[in-house]
Each structure stands twice: as structure tokens, then as C-alpha cells.
Subunit: 127 residues, 2 copies
DNA sequence: ACACGTGTCCTATGATTCATGTGACACGTG
DNA sequence: CACGTGTCACATGAATCATAGGACACGTGT
């Protein structure tokens, strides 16, 4: 069994769903830094997807520092996520802007949105 | 000239970029409720895109209540954006979750994120 | 030395989405 | 009736996505 939950659904690319599932598992403590991450072939076999698709998702996660690859040995969960770079902060700003635009068009108030953020934040807290 | 700014860039679907540009223009007061919205052909001509592409974006905006269509006459900016339905709230929850997941993986703190939200909120305020 | 599992890469194919091309129709205004 | 409006129905080419099948280099274990 995979160390993280994922039910693949149509509508979004499979590789993106896999990336997101791993990100959620990492921050929720399901995947602990330094622990082994399933091999490309194991992931593809469990999820019934093609190895290339799993490999693509893992490549994204490696690029973001969430996973570390050791050739010939395997892949482990990244130990120390680096502090946000200027580039990453700019990307986050863009995502925040998108969210605020949606919220404003739905006629939410700032404190409504803040409460939603805080609720999701606490819900995704490891413990 | 179009009543809203938009510089089409590669990487995202053109229709999505158009939808987002209009949403931002609406909440920033550039497009006022009740005012006329450019015709499908005018938008496609100004942006150098295909009428079908502009029509697709406008269709999305109509579906969300931001624009109102009067057949044979034209399209205007929606007057009264409805209160968020349960379905819309659920979609927003999902977007908030995505943002929180990204922020946590970048090792931001809750108040860091809250500040970013508040800043974007004030930046996108009309007047 | 050898087999095995690991990550990585290559070429190819079919499905889907996206943007465009082209043409047409119904509606309301003048 | 002409005109501009929104709307729709095909079709085509490009790009993305997932799949298929095979191959190679690396490190570990026997």
C-alpha cells in the first residue's frame, strides 16, 4: 500500500493529482522527512497508471525539493524544505491574488476569507 | 480600446486569461455593473483572437453571473452578483486548501499567509 | 561476477483540449 | 430591410496527456 491516499479522478491530469496528494501527505505528517518514498514502478503499479506518468510527477516534486533522489538506491522524502525564494514567493502571490479575485466576485468579506484560510490551515496541521 | 487590460501570454489557455482579466476588472471597478461589455467580435478583434475563443470566455462569465446577455442587443456587466451558493463555497474551499498546501510546503507561517491575503485584498479594492 | 531493483530516458500511438477557420442562423434596432 | 448582436455547427492543426514498450546506468545484495 502507498503511504499516502489518492483516488484518481477525471478532469485533472493524473500527474498533477499525484503531485498534490504527495504535497498534502508531506505537510500532514503522513510522509516524514528522510523516510523512503515508493519507487516509480511501485507507485505506478498501485495506482494502475503508467510508470512514465508517475515518473513525471516525482520529477516535479524533486524539482520543488519535496523529494530527494539517490540514483540506484531510491527516493526519500526531502529533509529540509528550504525557505521560500523570491521566485516562490512571487508564485504564491499570484495564487493568493487568484483566490482573492474569486472570493471578491463571490461577494465574500475579508474576514470570511481569512476564516476559511485559518480553518484549512488548522485542518492540515500535523499532530 | 477594451475597457479592461489584458496581455495574452503563452502557458495558459487564452480563454482562461480573458476570464480572469474580466474578473479582475469587475472587482477593481474598471467594469461597472450595468455598463456595456464589448461585443464578441470587438473583443476578438482587439485581442487578435478568434471570435469562438472570446465567445467561450464570455460564456463562462455569463455562467458565473458576472455578465448578462441580451440576445440581439448585446452584453452588459452583471448588476447583482448573487451570494455564494453552497457549490461555490465548496469550490472556494478547494482553492483555499490548495493555497494553504502550497504555503505550508514553502514553510510560511499562518500570519505570513494572512498578511499576503490582506495585502492582495486591499490592492484589489476599487476606488 | 551476477541478478535485481532503482531512476532515467527514448520513440511511438491514441485521446483530449485548445485555438483557429469558415459558414450559418435568430434576434433586436435603426 | 440592412446591420450588429449573440449563438451554433462543422472542420483543421497544434499541443498536452497518458499510455505502450523498450533500453541504459547506477547501487545493493548474493
Amino acid at each position: 500500500m502507498l503511504p499516502f491516499p489518492l483516488q484518481i479522478q477525471p478532469g485533472l491530469p493524473i500527474s498533477e493529482q499525484l503531485v498534490y496528494a504527495v504535497k498534502k501527505a508531506v505537510i500532514s505528517g503522513l510522509l516524514k522527512p528522510g523516510s523512503k518514498f515508493p519507487s516509480v514502478r511501485a507507485v505506478s503499479h498501485e495506482l494502475r497508471i503508467h510508470p512514465n506518468t508517475a515518473h513525471k510527477a516525482i520529477g516535479v516534486l524533486v524539482g520543488e525539493g519535496l523529494l530527494e533522489v539517490h540514483p540506484g538506491i531510491g527516493t526519500i522524502v526531502g529533509k529540509i524544505p528550504s525557505a521560500p525564494s523570491a521566485k516562490e514567493l512571487k508564485l504564491l502571490e499570484g495564487e493568493v491574488e487568484r483566490l482573492v479575485v474569486e472570493a471578491k466576485n463571490r461577494r465574500l468579506r475579508l474576514d470570511d476569507l481569512q476564516r476559511m484560510v485559518e480553518r484549512q490551515w488548522n485542518r492540515l496541521t500535523s499532530h
